[in-house]
């Protein structure tokens, strides 16, 4: 069975641009969550979606948005990129309804560099 897949794996953007990151969950998982991991730090929770509804949101500005599609895949959008948005963006899927329960299965991440 395929694990969580994320695309693109690496990308470079300049300040002020927009980026869209994509995630396909494990088959059967209805929950997708997104995390930002700056080099040398722990992941930071951004969003969690379950059955296309937002179930949790971390302390990120409105430049960050996400959505989940009927096939449970998800997109994370970041507008007006700043240098500080450079990070590894991780997507995880699970069976759990809420953001704080259940085993999370992570993808390999999308490495975003903002110049």
């Amino acid at each position: 069975d395929a694990g969580v897949t994320q695309s693109p794996t690496h990308l470079i953007k300049t300040r002020g641009q927009h980026v869209t990151l994509r995630c396909s969950p494990i088959s059967g998982h209805k929950s997708v969550s997104w995390y930002q991991q700056v080099l040398g730090q722990g992941p930071q929770f951004i969003f969690q979606y379950y059955e296309k509804e937002e179930r949790g949101r971390g302390n990120f500005p409105d430049r960050f948005s996400a959505r989940q599609f009927p096939n449970y895949s998800s997109e994370l959008n970041v507008n007006a990129l700043l240098l500080g948005d450079s990070a590894l963006y991780l997507c995880a899927s699970s069976f759990a309804r809420g953001p704080g329960t259940g085993e999370l299965f992570f993808g390999e991440g999308s490495r975003l560099t903002v110049l």
């Binding site: 730090q41 992941p43 704080g100 329960t101 259940g102 999370l104």
Partner: protein
């Protein structure tokens, strides 16, 4: 500011038992405590999850005291391949609900 606290790094030797503790003073009442392992350039991998007392699986044990303000991950008989960063993950009730990852404990296993 709600947060978790873990040691930044730990060293041990092959065959030893390693215990890593995470403190989480404002844990949400109904939330579980979860631990993950992360290798460089990979996403985190689930180790164990618990709500209270003790949980054991094939790779680790998790000890949670009655007040749930801390948790201890126990890795029995570590090997070189256990060298990684270990994170605790909890839901914290502050002014609102937040899902908080610890800063991570870099565990180095020596031969």
């Amino acid at each position: 500011l709600a947060k978790t606290t873990q040691p930044i790094s730990m060293d041990s030797y092959e065959g030893q038992e390693v215990n890593i503790t995470c403190s989480h003073n404002n844990i949400a009442t109904n939330d579980y405590i979860t631990w993950y392992q992360q290798f460089p350039s990979q996403g985190p991998r689930f180790i164990i999850q618990g709500y209270k007392t003790k949980v054991t699986n094939e790779v680790a044990s998790l000890f949670i005291p009655a007040d749930r303000k801390s948790s201890t991950l126990s890795l029995p008989r570590v090997s070189l391949s256990d060298t990684a960063v270990y994170y605790c993950l909890v839901g914290i009730m502050d002014s609102n609900y937040q899902l908080i990852w610890g800063a991570g404990t870099k565990l180095i296993i020596k031969p």
